[in-house]
């Protein structure tokens, strides 16, 4: 019998990964840090036409874009004269299982089926679980979803419990765990036990599947609106949403669209803390994932993440929990669209950013997600109250994650706050330098880090000197 201690299983990680993703990532290594990202994406994913065909055959993609005229009018009340861009939303909740994650799952599960795997496994507490379960159902594959769901008092996040229900409704087996990064340990054990495909969120399939979203945006706006959006705001956690969307826009020739990442500010809460787990009102789309994954994408469940958001983001802003709940209510009561709060993170940001753009400019929120019991403002806010979080009206900037949720006293108080991209770039370079000695960084590695950070090689060199000096 094999040794299943935490250390022993983690030591088998590379072999388990190779067998379960079908990619030998080491063939893409170029330097001691760098790897050929574009080559990996080219060799291991599908061309745009084929992905669109795969997706349309399983109820994924071609989601509508909707102009939010009432929200735009509201934003203009508070914008300087001449400002207040037109706000649009892409209704990704219209996908098969209710979120843009269907795009990722559709390519990953199609690929698993093609390679002859009997089943698929994904480690996720988010909408991706339902997406993989939905696609597995279509292709007749077994499916296991591994969730981080409960604290040590067996109290579960309502939003995650709802996702478990949805996965089970779609025929998946759900394995629920208490808080902790060892979810990955159980995930590896399950891959080993079953021999199923690792439908990782971060494989090239998982990211390429989102490229159709960016591509569709360009096509739809040219056709239905007559011009491209000036700014696209993406809710950012693991970085796949932003990466895939930006890559798709580029493939459609839309190189000048400004790409903005938006996350819910959960600073101060530790993501692996048993005590903090139920003190947050958002289980994804927050800085607890967004910031670490942006500054080091390769912390995911595959050796090289295909989600590399820092390569594509022009800005990264945060909004508060209270602001997102408020805008979720606004979307329902002013636009007649009731959607899940987490997906509206980028909408809260867009409402604020619209006032920086001219009236004839366009800002697009590129997703919505399904809503239901457990996964909407009321159950999430009443859960917060149960856990001793103060809910009140006031200035959202006074919100303290884990202690309060502050609903804006009025819409003018919704303000996206910029993160310093230079700090994130520096942090990425610092993380890279943990892999090698400074004197081992080759020209190839420097060029790679320049691409990762969108800096010049000379600037990367300067950063390295600062960090190691």
């Amino acid at each position: 019998m094999s040794n299943n201690s935490y250390e022993a299983v983690m030591a088998r990680r590379d072999a388990i990964m190779r067998a379960s993703v079908g990619i030998d990532y080491s063939t893409f290594n170029t330097g001691s840090i760098g790897f050929d990202y574009e080559q990996m994406m080219k060799e291991t994913s599908y061309p745009m036409d084929e992905m669109r065909r795969i997706q349309s055959s399983v109820g994924v993609g071609s989601t509508p874009i909707i102009e939010l005229k009432n929200l735009t009018a509201l934003a203009r009340k508070y914008a300087p004269a001449g400002k207040g861009a037109r706000i649009f939303i892409k209704d990704e909740a219209a996908n098969a299982s209710g979120s843009f994650k269907d795009r990722r799952a559709s390519i990953a599960v199609y690929h698993a089926k093609k390679l002859g795997y009997k089943g698929v496994i994904a480690a996720t507490s988010g909408n991706y679980g339902a997406a993989v379960a939905s696609q597995a159902a279509k292709y007749g594959l077994d499916c296991i979803i591994v969730q981080e769901c409960y604290d040590s008092n067996a109290k579960g996040q309502p939003e995650i419990i709802e996702k478990a229900r949805k996965c089970e409704a779609l025929g998946a087996e759900v394995v629920q765990l208490s808080v902790g990064p060892e979810l990955f340990y159980k995930f590896l054990l399950l891959l080993e036990e079953t021999g199923y495909f690792n439908a990782s969120l971060y494989s090239p399939y998982g990211i390429a599947g989102v490229e159709t979203l960016g591509y569709e945006i360009a096509e739809q706006f040219k056709e239905e609106v007559g011009k491209l959006p000036d700014m696209v705001v993406c809710t950012n956690a693991g970085g796949g949403n932003l990466t895939g969307t930006a890559r798709g826009l580029h493939q459609a020739g839309a190189h000048d669209v400004q790409i903005v990442a938006a996350s819910v500010d959960l600073s101060g809460l530790h993501m692996a803390s048993d005590k903090d787990f139920n003190r947050k009102s958002f289980t994804t789309g927050h800085t607890g994932f967004g910031v670490p994954f942006t500054s080091w994408p390769d912390r995911s469940d595959v050796p090289r993440s295909a989600a590399r958001p820092l390569r594509y983001m022009d800005r990264y802003v945060t909004v508060s929990q209270g602001e997102v709940f408020y805008i979720t209510e606004a979307l329902a009561t002013l636009e007649g669209l009731e959607k899940g709060p987490a997906g509206n993170t980028s909408l809260a940001a867009a409402f604020s950013l619209a006032s920086e753009l001219d009236k004839d400019q366009i800002i697009l929120v590129q997703e919505t997600e399904y809503t239901g019991a457990g996964k909407m403002s009321q159950p999430q806010l009443s859960f917060a109250r149960e856990n001793g979080i103060a809910l009140k009206f006031g200035d959202p900037r006074t919100e303290v994650p884990g202690e309060s949720v502050i609903l804006p006293e009025n819409p003018s108080l919704i303000k996206a706050v910029d993160l310093d991209l230079m700090k994130l770039r520096r942090s990425l370079v610092k993380n890279a330098l943990k892999l090698v000695d400074t004197n081992e960084v080759s020209e190839i590695d420097l060029a790679y880090l320049a691409e990762e950070t969108r800096l010049q090689v000379a600037d990367v060199k300067k950063l390295i000197a600062e960090i190691s000096g």
Binding site: E182, S273, L334
Partner: protein
């Protein structure tokens, strides 16, 4: 009495607290890694017994039997009156007349 073939929920410890990953924060290190999984009961048992179940994918898992025909207990939550306030104020801001 829970019977063979019943659909049940079991609970187990995946890692004892001393077996947890080195990087987990102090409070999490104080508690074990727990697991909940559903499946078909393979032999008659009482609530609280150690049992083996066959999951949907045909795997065997063992743990303590905690519920037969497990119920989804998440809901639409307690009423949050602040949301009514937000809705009414937003509609008024866009020119809706307040109702007498």
């Amino acid at each position: 009495m829970p019977n063979t073939g019943d659909w049940v929920l079991i609970h187990s410890q995946t890692l004892k607290k001393e077996e947890r990953a080195p990087q987990v924060p102090a409070d999490t290190k104080e508690v074990p890694l727990e697991m909940w999984v559903k499946g078909e009961l393979l032999e008659p048992a009482e609530i609280g017994d150690a049992v083996t179940v066959k999951t949907l994918t045909g795997r065997l898992e063992t743990g303590k039997l905690i519920e037969v025909n497990p119920v989804y207990r998440h809901s639409f939550g307690e009423f949050v009156p602040e949301l009514v306030t937000v809705s009414r104020e937003l509609r008024q801001l866009l020119g809706g007349e307040p109702h007498e």
